[in-house]
């Protein structure tokens, strides 16, 4: 039995994912991507993991969507209307998507995942104190590496986005 809330969130997520790729203006695509990320956070809430859902909303809707919208605003508007994709490539992409969806979906449906023997959806939900414990004990080296990676990525992004005089001169 499928939950009606699940169906609603699924339609919201998949629909806004399609809109984010197909909308005519890039800024609407960015907003649709944020809505799709909200839908994923809704799935996380349905799966009894509110901590990850809040993290998802804070990172994706709070940071990534705003970053994307700022970038879209920085890029000149005319460059956003590049509709140079030809019909053949588009239909080939749709066919590839459908083949992928059908084949992988069929594999999952006929696999043992469908039977009730795998896992237990009625098992008690994971308490998020255990997430914190695991992060600070067993996964603490991974947490430190993640922090260093984030710092490196932010410094790299700043170095990339810095204005360089020679590039400006080359373009003039």
């Amino acid at each position: 039995m499928v939950d009606p809330v699940f169906i609603g969130v699924a339609v919201l997520t998949v629909g806004s994912a399609i809109i984010s790729l197909e909308s005519r203006e890039l800024i609407y695509g960015a907003i649709a991507l944020a809505i799709s990320m909200m839908g994923i956070a809704g799935f996380f809430l349905l799966l009894d993991s509110p901590f990850v859902a809040m993290f998802q909303i804070a990172v994706y809707v709070g940071a990534v969507a705003v970053l994307v919208i700022f970038t879209v605003m920085l890029v000149r508007t005319q460059a956003l209307f590049t509709t140079k994709e030809d019909k053949g490539r588009k239909s080939a992409g749709v066919i590839l998507m459908l083949i992928f969806m059908a084949s992988i979906g069929a594999i999952f449906i006929i696999s043992g995942l469908n039977s009730q023997t795998f896992g237990n959806p009625k098992a008690p939900a994971v308490d998020f104190t255990s997430i914190g414990q695991q992060m600070l004990t067993y996964y603490s080296p991974a947490l430190i590496a993640l922090a260093l990676t984030l710092a490196g990525a932010v410094i790299g992004a700043l170095a990339l986005a810095r204005r360089e005089e020679e590039i400006e001169q080359k373009n003039d």
């Binding site: 695509g29 992988i104 896992g119 932010v154």
Partner: protein, 100 residues
Amino acid sequence: MTELIYYVLISVVLVAIGIYGLVVKRNAVRMLFALEIIANAANLNLIAFSRNLSNSQGQVFALFSIAIAAAEVAVGLGIIIIAYRLFKEIDVEEFKSMRG
């Protein structure tokens, strides 16, 4: 309570949409959107399996994955901005040379 297979199927649909975006779209920002959709489908799988196995490691991995995806978006948008500054275009077919 929705069964695990429905979450996995939604995840397959999202990955297929992301692959379609990566194959068809020539706009660099839209390709980044497609990458984000694929990354989110992976996170959805992690959380769904973590719920069904009643194991917190899936959630820990999803948290790491979300943070890495945020770093990836920051670097990707930086690259797009500098490519736009060089080529005055965000169409990936115009990025013929990636020299400075």
